[in-house]
Symmetry: C3
Subunit: 398 residues, 3 copies
């Protein structure tokens, strides 16, 4: 691990990077230029260092941050709450069971009704393939319309807290952690990262994490290896994109059906379960019509399928295949740990315990990534604002 940049170095680096996020949404990392991605992780690291030194980076006097969770969540929920609080925004959760956010007319209406004094709307909607991202765009269109027609004084920004396609606050936190771990984004060039499927006794886990990882890491000159059993493919658009991005960034992108192949000589491994794309599509259709019998059958079929690949486990033997036998293990947490949280899972207890603290450090970036997204989407001149915050902190005793 090399020395990481100081707050002042981070500030200067950040000020040298152009961003164009003011009053915009952040839905998919690949919609944003690499320079903007660099700015986000640089800013997140600066805010993290400020917090470590005991300095506030509060930037708002008042204003709401609204969260909409269409799925259970602990760490993303608290990351969003922490970020909103750190920025000076009040948190309000929109509990859809007590409201009317649905489809058509009502999404348009509700999006405006909750936004009169709102700065940021964080949305998690990852259950139905083809829906989460579409829903976020629909909310965004309603906000744009409401702002243009004078209903809203300022257009709130949507932050994707996980959709069916991408999980940007996770992948950006992962990138910030890799930047910290390897000393710089430049140092990531040529690093081999294995994003691999892993066995889990549950099914139906979203695709957004592996898609988010290959969609982001392929932009930084890394050797990205996607590995999964046959039939466990990701959305093909994202796979194609990863290939193109890797080529452009001077990196590599390969897909294999062998966990061993992906692990061989890897600097970083990210073994994680997910459901096959085709299964998620069938599941989505069944959920829509509440086909309970079909869902039961599908679960049975999927668990049986998963069981054929129970050897896709991140064990010591697998880790020994990696570079110097000590690749960095990553996970978005919680992991399915063999003999701890389940009988057989994604990772052996021994390997997980060895890397437990690093996975916590990985997770520690998420509230600061979300803070950085709020900072960039809501402040007109984020460079000047950050300088003001750093100066105030330094005047105190940094």
């Amino acid at each position: 691990m090399t020395a990481t940049p100081t707050i002042t170095e981070n500030l200067r680096a950040f000020q040298g990077l152009k961003t164009d996020l003011f009053h915009k949404d952040f839905l998919l990392t690949w919609e944003h230029p690499e320079e903007e991605i660099r700015a986000i992780v640089t800013l997140a690291d600066t805010l993290k260092q400020l917090h470590k030194a005991g300095h506030s980076f509060r930037s708002f006097d008042t204003g709401l941050a609204i969260s909409i969770f269409r799925d259970n969540s602990t760490r993303t929920r608290f990351s969003f709450a922490s970020a909103a609080n750190a920025m000076g925004l009040g948190l309000s959760d929109l509990d859809e069971q007590k409201s009317q956010v649905a489809h058509g007319e009502t999404v348009r209406e509700t999006a405006n009704m909750i936004s009169f004094l709102t700065e940021v709307i964080g949305i998690r909607d990852d259950m139905f393939l083809g829906e989460g991202h579409t829903y976020m765009k629909e909310v965004g269109d309603a906000l744009t319309d409401g702002t243009q027609r004078g209903v809203l004084h300022r257009r709130p920004s949507i932050v994707n807290l996980q959709c069916d396609i991408d999980h940007p606050t996770q992948s950006l936190a992962d990138l910030a952690w890799l930047r910290q771990h390897f000393g710089s984004l430049e140092n990531l060039k040529g690093k081999k990262i294995a994003m691999t499927w892993a066995y889990s006794p549950s099914y139906g886990k979203p695709l957004s994490v592996p898609q988010g990882i290959i969609g982001l890491m392929s932009r930084f000159g890394m050797d990205v290896r996607l590995a999964h059993p046959e039939g466990y493919g990701l959305i093909s658009d994202v796979v194609d994109l990863a290939g193109k991005q890797a080529a452009k960034s001077g990196g590599k992108f390969t897909v294999t059906n062998s966990m061993e192949e992906a692990f061989a000589g890897a600097d970083i491994v990210y073994p994680k379960s997910w459901a096959p794309y085709q299964v998620m599509e069938r599941r989505t259709e069944m959920l829509k019509v509440s086909d309970k019998e079909g869902l039961r059958e599908l679960e049975k079929e999927c668990l049986a399928n998963n069981a054929k690949h129970a050897n896709w486990e991140c064990t010591r033997r697998m880790m020994d295949l990696t570079a110097d036998k000590k690749a960095l293990y990553m996970h978005c947490l919680p992991a399915d740990i063999t003999d701890v949280s389940c009988k057989a899972g994604e990772v052996s207890a021994e390997v997980f315990e060895q890397y437990r603290i690093p996975t916590y450090q990985e997770a520690a970036y998420k509230p600061f990534i979300i803070s950085a997204l709020m900072f960039l989407t809501r402040l007109k001149d984020p460079g000047a604002k950050l300088e003001q915050i750093v100066n105030r902190a330094q005047a105190l005793h940094l």
Copy 2:
């Protein structure tokens, strides 16, 4: 639409109006002198303009705003959350399923127990006729007692977020919107407003909106027309009051059983469904004893009754009866829109779409009305405080 007052004009106008709301409750608009009503809408408009210009009107360092919702709500919930946040108060929701606010001994006790550091308590209790307003008074009495006997350092103020009798934050937001739309409260004199029943495929909607509208608009010299099918009457006390107020303010108040008659030449129309007063009374009794069979029968009977008046729909044909065929359409939202949210409802899709943005603008006043009520009930010298806020804003660059 005429030019609306500037922030400075609003500030001066506000300072010229006397209010007596410090540490008091706001339950029914007609309990408050017209001058106070003028002050509220003037202040709300000023706060809205400050927000539009990007200036905070935060007035508290700390303090709690507690909400008690005994019914689902999206827009009032978020309006209250937004107002609390904008004023600098922390929001805490009292979820009665996790507590003991009930009747008798316990209301008295709980009212004190939640109020040690509380500034404002917002209550929605609109389901049972004869109960919501009574409950709010009971809470208020407990707070007064607790303050007089030294338990509470300061008496929190109750803001009625909808009861069985009135919906003051709605009607005041509506008044603020009319003031904006027509240029001034003075310009409302002589304007014809049709508060009419409209068909809905649901039943049991509260009476507080129509009651709130006739109870408030009749004080500003308007020609208020209440229209509903036979048997769909409102609480007679409020109807009587509207008549008296209209006479006093130089306006008019009429009740008719014809939607057409009410719409004829109207400048403003407010078509909205509600349940007949007598039905709500029977429903309240049945709800109290959990008479499920009776409730099912009542619903059937009521829907059948409603269906006889399905022609009470705000269509293009109806709108053509209004002044210049273009009365301002108002609704508290969400509306039952024919072919959009239901097969047949309160308003045709075409008419609603034409006025959709104006209804959003109407709704946009609610968080600022609630902010204004917090401002007036919690600050000892609201005129001086507002001047200080406006000066600070202008020093920055207003």
Copy 3:
């Protein structure tokens, strides 16, 4: 009632007391030296007086206070929310039904995951004997580990909001109230306090309040009398501790099976129902294995047992046994009041009504006790900070 200390007197007294709570937990009062206890109640009283005079004691710009409630709660919930808000912290409730805080691996993980920007974690876990305190220690160990290994920038502090052993925010609020009522902690020396069981038509009430009271009041030279029917004993460790502490502080500690004996000549009475220790142990085992039949049987058996002691009621006749027939009646609320909240309960309606306001005043200390615990556990130099707050207040107009 003697004159209570002024803010300045309190400040000076507070500054003369040593505390060692910075970044530590507060789980059991008896783990903390008497000097620290004095500091807490002195500080709580100062903060209460500041609030009364209208002065903020906000000490944080941002930061989270997380609450974990494993049981329903109104007053502790609002006390914690009020304290967090008053200190400038944002409140986030961890709803375990939407998360994964469980046992083993996951407690360790979740404790870290929610704590990246967190200052305080308030936990109520009082249902299972042998579990609540253990759980809090487990969370605390995880936080210490996470901080030492660089995951957390600062170790959050846990505040026990009621466990199976102690209810420190209640007993400290009670102590602060007694200090106020009798003029000083010194004046408590020799005062006779009867902590007695009382009849209730419900069963399974936790032991933490009586244990908390005897575990705290025995340290201030009081004559502490614990009274309960045979078979309704408390955890023996706490009973032993109370005896030792009483001896050391120059007070007395006696256990009796007669309510009359305990009330005779008492200056303070605290009649409250609880379940026998042995019953709670059996209940815990049954709850763990979801033995519904067993639980039903146990309830029946316990209610029958309770019924044998229905005469353990705090009536006028009982009060007449106390010093000058006017001991101070205390209760943590809500009380089971005969003919009010139940047919026959802990206290007669007449006695409760006489002391209703004093019980509210007792409760009023809780938010300030929790504020004081946040102040002492999170601020490095609480004496200097309090002086700064008092000076600012006095400069304004105290």
